[in-house]
Amino acid sequence: MSASIALHAGSLERQETASTREPAWVKVVLVSVALSFFSVFLLLPLGTVFAEALRKGWGAYFDAMVNPDAWSAIKLTLLVAVIAVPLNLVFGLAASWAIAKFEFRGKRVLITLIDLPFSVSPVISGLIYVLMFGAQGWFGPWFYEHDIKIIFAVPGIVLATIFVTFPFVARELIPLMEAQGSEEEEAAVVLGASGWQVFRYTTLPNIKWGLLYGVILCNARAMGEFGAVSVVSGHIRGQTNTMPLHVEILYNEYNYAAAFAVASLLAVLAIITLGLKTLVERQTRRQLQEIGTPSGE
């Protein structure tokens, strides 16, 4: 199962003729239903975040940002993403190279295993690391003796984040690389290119937009993850609070303006993510049109 959205290179619109057109009133009703649902369920929550954040004015908004606890939460969130995203990027490249360019037994099972983290509840994603590294966990006592803290510390947060963002890059690249086949790479090998040269000059230019898209989604989830991180963090202010956890604490203290102020930063991240996604999709579509590949996969 893919919890992320596959990149759609083909056109998602159709030209209609008279016999495939509904009466005008049907169109009006359907579009109105969609727009109403869109306004209430999607626009309103997004708007509420910014409205509540600025309810007490810009002064209070910036005060919430420069608060030392907020600042350390921002730094921790960035740190976690800087570690988790590149690790999953390297994994995604390795996995998609092995899966898309070679035939081997058990491929479907491997893909299912890679997808697993998407179908596991975030809470369980945190729990499994508590069972591994917690005080009573498998490796907990050993790490305790060596004075290394994993649970209720930054390494646990990083691990839980890597788990929940594990499939993103691989999931984007595998179908893309499978669709492109390996003729170009084989030609490059025959012409004497080294393994690195094949990847750098043949594969990478073909997958760069899909790769970028996977990284964008991976990053958004890494910075926004709440459930899994909440289980392993211990909520120590100024030390193990990421931005989403800081939002929770402020909200539970009825400090709504500050909670929404920090939340608004995460909402901006979400909007940037969606903007980049739209851009990448447009880019892929253009690339395909230039090559003249049919839009269907």
Binding site: M1, A3, S4, L12, R14, T20, E22, P23, L30, A34, F38, L42, P45, T48, V49, E52, V90, A94, A98, K101, F102, G106, L110, L113, D115, L116, P117, S119, V120, S121, P122, V123, I124, L127, I128, L131, W138, F163, S182, E185, E186, V189, V198, F199, A220, G224, G227, V231, P244, V247, Y251, L266, A267, A270, I271, T273, L274, G275, K277, T278
Partner: protein, 278 residues
């Protein structure tokens, strides 16, 4: 490793495959087996006591009931969204198409506090509903609402490409043979997109069952009334009942795995079916 695969002139299989398997084992497979191992140390009676206490059973009813209902609502509205995005032009279409994915991109805690604020008594929508006697925040209805929010993109994004690929000629032929637009929809279009709708439903359901962040703020978390199953795991963890938490987690994991297999099966069905038509 080499004996497992057919010959290919490309380099790097051993390295890429080896790295993939090691990383997969360390991050995913070994930690997940910890749940199984811990559950087995419990013994049957302790396991059963943990997973069948009334409060936990009430949470299953809420989690699975609300998730089913939410996924159903998502199928209905998701189909309308996919339909208008593929077939109609209307003002704001670009914005709608981009923002449909908002529930994926917006961190769940942010969605959670926003929804809780909107539907609380003083919120913009809660205020309107209060005189009508409708309470959403801090009731099971709030849970349902949050699950509808997070599930919508699954249905829209699975149905949209299938609907776009549907050949116009088939519909024209139906119209030519005297079918009304409604008949064409029921007999031609709906059967064609049914696997996609079902896949979207299963994905939305699977996501909803495990969802935590967007739900807990609006749920109010009243024992026996509005506690979801993931929250029960957290509650047990906070009481240092690791065994109990793991037992409930193992029940959820088994259900997730079954759902994953069903979804994979559905996707295989979709691929075969749409490959034939193309």
């Amino acid at each position: 490793m080499a004996s497992l695969r057919r010959f290919s002139p490309l380099p790097g299989f051993g390295l890429a495959m080896g790295y993939t398997l090691v990383y997969l084992a360390i991050i995913v497979v070994i930690p997940l087996t910890a749940v199984g191992a811990k559950t087995f140390t419990l013994g049957w009676d302790a396991f059963w006591a943990a997973v069948s206490s009334p409060r936990v059973v009430a949470s299953y009813q809420l989690s699975f009931g609300a998730s089913l209902l939410a996924a159903g609502i998502n199928v209905f509205f998701g189909l309308i969204f996919a339909w208008v995005l593929v077939r109609y032009r209307f003002p704001g279409k670009g914005l709608v198409d981009s923002l449909v994915d908002l529930p994926f991109a917006l961190p769940t805690a942010v969605a959670g506090i926003a929804l809780a604020t909107i539907y609380s008594q003083n919120g913009p929508v809660g205020k309107l509903l209060e005189p009508l006697g409708v309470e959403i925040a801090y009731t099971p209805k709030g849970v349902l609402l949050a699950l509808v929010f997070i599930g919508l993109p699954f249905v829209v994004r699975t149905v949209q490409p299938v609907l776009a690929d549907l050949e116009k000629e088939v519909e024209e032929a139906a119209a030519g043979l005297g079918a009304s637009r409604w008949q064409t929809f029921c007999k031609i279009i709906l059967p064609h997109i049914a696997p996609a709708l079902l896949t979207g439903f299963a994905m939305a359901f699977a996501r909803a069952v495990g969802e935590y962040g967007s739900v807990i703020f609006i749920a109010g978390n009243v024992p026996m009334v509005s506690e979801i199953t993931p929250l029960m795991i957290i509650t047990k963890l906070e009481q240092y009942d690791y065994a109990g938490a793991t037992a409930v987690a193992s029940v959820m994991l088994i259900i997730s795995f079954v759902l994953l297999l069903i979804i994979n099966g559905l996707q295989g069905w979709m691929q075969n079916r749409y490959a034939k038509g193309a």
